[in-house]
């Protein structure tokens, strides 16, 4: 038998390359759908294993839970929602790659997660006309002139910071030192400058210094910096696990400091991780009502979870957050479909801007989420809670800066 090496080499190379390229052929990009019942594809970027996964997981479960519940109860005007959910580990390049994948697979809208990736994708979603909601409540995302296709359901981090500073000014009588401990990322720094401006603008008379949180197992060093600043209040913009460590360190060091958590560390997980004696007395700014507040909007979720053999108390506040973010999106899809015509990014965008306020049963902000063509700030009210004997006790509702 004669063996021809050149042919063999060429054939092998061709086979390998064809194998690689063949992977790309398959997927077709089906649109949203018209009068039929084709499923509506929505891409979800989730942080299931990254640095914010402690809150990313329940949020993602909430979204998927809502989709499951909605599909079981008839979907959006007869269309089921097909949620494509993937972990992006809180890495911007991974988010971009997944985003491209979703667009190629025909997603009509995207549910994102972090501030870094939402800001990085901001111009892309605008030029691709993909309505984009995320769990990032950075101020820049609410301005339709700067971010036309981003929709923010909850009060922004800056609004939460303003509420926090107002409360601190009132609680301290006016002349306290505030230390801001923030995650070292776009998410963490989002409200920092706006807080400083707010103090100057309103003449609150508070001292204000920001500290990025290092990746250390404890924050004793950071706390001693805050102590030399004379800080009595520590505003934390981070996820619950590091915030709980700060609470533990404050207790262990015997410091007289009060933590004021913005929404991402204001939850049951903070109390559980820090343990209720360490968490006692700290303050939380949270636009989403925790399950313990028992608002009307919690009933549906509770029922759904019961049918699945779980409880809302176990799933916690971020489950509710994911649920209602998807709910607002679904209301937009419904309006876009009922308006006739095709379901496209543009029609969803128009529907979200023009639809009536979405009633969330008192769960989100002041209870209602409403967008307009001049503002994509869905709501402005946050609740203020205090940790009392291991639970979130409401001390003020619907605080607007």
């Amino acid at each position: 038998m004669r063996h021809n090496p050149r042919v063999a080499v060429t054939a092998f190379f061709a086979a390998v390359l064809l194998g690689v390229t063949a992977c790309g052929g398959g997927s077709d990009s089906g649109g949203g759908g018209g009068g039929d019942t084709t499923p509506i594809k929505i891409g979800i970027l989730a942080d299931l294993t990254g640095p914010t996964s402690d809150v990313g997981r329940p949020y993602n479960e909430g979204m998927l839970g809502y989709v499951d519940w909605l599909n079981a109860t008839g979907g959006v005007s007869g269309h089921k929602i097909e949620a494509m959910s993937n972990d992006y580990r809180y890495e911007v390049p991974a988010a971009e790659e997944l985003y491209k994948k979703y667009v190629a697979e025909g997603a009509v809208a995207i549910q994102g997660w972090g501030t870094g990736d939402s800001e990085a994708l901001r111009t892309k979603v605008a030029s691709d006309k993909e309505p984009f909601m995320s769990a990032s409540y950075a101020e820049v995302l609410t301005d339709p002139a700067a971010s036309p296709y981003n929709f923010v359901v909850a009060p922004t981090y800056s609004d939460q910071m303003r509420v926090a500073l107002n409360w601190i000014a009132k609680d301290s009588g006016g002349t306290a030192q505030v230390a801001v401990f923030h995650h070292d990322s776009p998410f963490g720094t989002a409200p920092v400058a706006d807080g400083q401006k707010w103090i100057a603008e309103k003449g609150l008379g508070l001292g204000y210094t920001a500290y990025p949180m290092p990746k250390t197992p404890n924050f004793v060093g950071l706390l001693s910096q805050a102590q030399s600043q004379g800080a009595q209040y520590i505003v934390i913009q981070n996820s619950p696990s590091p915030a709980a460590q700060v609470a533990k360190d404050i207790k262990a060091q015997g410091l007289n400091m009060k933590i004021v958590c913005l929404n991402w560390c204001s939850d049951e997980l903070f109390i559980k991780t820090a343990d209720s004696t360490n968490a006692e007395g700290h303050i939380m700014i949270q636009p989403f009502a925790p399950p313990s507040a028992n608002k009307a909007g919690h009933a549906t979720i509770s029922e759904y979870l019961k049918s699945k053999g779980a409880t809302l108390e176990d799933k916690g506040l971020h489950y509710v957050q994911g649920w209602y973010t998807m709910d607002v999106m679904a209301k937009g899809l419904e309006k876009a479909l009922n308006g006739g015509g095709e379901l496209t990014g543009e029609s969803i965008h128009a529907a979200l801007e023009s639809m009536d306020a979405v009633d969330t049963g008192g769960v989100v902000g002041t209870g209602e989420v409403k967008f307009s063509s001049s503002s994509h700030r869905g709501s402005t009210g946050s609740g203020i809670y205090q940790v009392r004997s291991g639970a979130m006790a409401e001390i003020a509702a619907n605080q607007v800066p």
């Binding site: 050149r6 080499v9 390229t21 993937n86 580990r89 971009e96 111009t123 776009p186």
Partner: protein, 352 residues
């Protein structure tokens, strides 16, 4: 010409030829055909990945010039990418320069910054140099994160959609248009690097790598050579950074962390140190690995949900395994595996 037991050159001209066998020409033609056909065969998603690979190829080639060919270990890749990206984004966005000019200036600036951070290489070798370049990575990261005027306080820089003298990249054809631009630039960059090592300068790089004292003894100017190697390598890396800035349209520091430096080192280790073709193979391999794992996870999502839970961990493990496997089994990387496969068929049925 290839005979049954190897390649024997009978003339000096033949020895200098870029390609020695007809199979290599066949491969070249096949590759060109595939590259030309790619935009018609691939959908936008895969074309987007191809574009990322093309940018990574330029960066990997640049790093290989420094690490593989000159023997100067660098952990500063991410930082140099950042210099290129920020420079081009700011020059085109705020100073209003045309994109080709801003990219060119970004390349020159990165080369200058690279040469500057390469100065410790005149005194340090091996691991000590690696730590010095690690410092450059951290310094550049610090600068792009903390100097607020760079991003005007926003933390990121937005880049306008590419417009070349009135020719605008469109949304619908975004990936395809970018593919042609990136393909052209990448081919030129790879050819330039390939030819570099047929020049006296390129050979002096390799002389420094093999034994720097001996190189000095035969008249190679160590100072000039090492600094030039850093500048040239950083120039390529700056080009990759600048292209990435215009292609992704947002520049954030998160894309240039130490992880990225390690990823690029992994590319050239897996591909083959001291080989231009290896840099290309390595970039393709390392960029496709996470994507293919995502595909696998999606296809098993229904059948084995427990696997999906573990997938991110598996991804990290596969990443580490790939590097370790290559270091143990074939330290010279994919390029060496490819040439061994060629030798196998070329010498068949003999061993050598």
């Amino acid at each position: 010409m290839a005979t049954a037991t190897g390649i024997y050159n009978r003339t000096y001209r033949a020895e200098l030829a870029l390609r020695h066998t007809r199979a290599e020409y066949a491969r070249l033609i096949l590759m060109f055909a595939l590259l030309l056909a790619a935009p018609y065969l691939l959908d936008n998603y895969w074309l987007g990945i191809t574009n990322s690979i093309l940018i990574a190829v330029i960066g990997a080639v640049g790093l290989n010039i420094l690490v593989g060919f000159t023997g100067q270990i660098s952990l500063g890749q991410g930082g140099f990418l950042a210099v290129g990206a920020y420079a081009s984004a700011i020059l085109s966005g705020r100073a209003g320069l045309p994109v080709p000019v801003s990219v060119l200036l970004a390349v020159l600036l990165t080369a200058a910054v690279g040469a500057f951070f390469g100065l410790p290489a005149l005194r340090l070798k091996g691991l000590y140099l690696a730590i010095a370049t690690l410092a450059s990575q951290e310094i550049i990261m610090f600068v792009v994160r903390r100097w607020e005027w760079l991003t005007e306080g926003a933390g990121y820089v937005e880049v306008a959609r590419l417009n070349l003298f009135g020719w605008q990249v469109e949304r619908e054809t975004f990936e395809v248009q970018w593919y042609w631009i990136l393909l052209g630039i990448t081919v030129v960059a790879v050819l330039a690097a390939r030819n570099l090592f047929r020049t006296a300068l390129g050979r002096s790089f390799m002389a420094v790598r093999d034994q720097d004292i001996a190189a000095q003894a035969i008249g190679v100017n160590l100072t000039a050579t090492k600094t030039t190697a850093f500048a040239l390598s950083s120039g390529f890396v700056g080009l990759a950074g600048a292209l990435q800035a215009h292609y992704t349209e947002t520049v954030t520091w998160e894309r240039f962390t130490l992880d990225v430096s390690v990823l690029y080192l992994a590319m050239i280790i897996v591909g083959g140190l001291g080989s231009i073709a290896g840099s290309v193979y390595g970039a393709i391999f390392m960029m496709l690995l996470p994507t293919l794992l995502t595909e696998v996870s999606e296809s098993v999502q229904a059948g084995a949900p427990f696997l999906v839970e573990q997938l991110p961990a598996i991804k990290n493990a596969v990443f580490g395994m790939a590097i370790i496997t290559f270091l143990i089994l074939e330290p010279r990387g994919l390029n060496r595996i490819w040439s061994r496969m060629k030798d196998y068929v070329r010498f068949w049925p003999f061993r050598y």
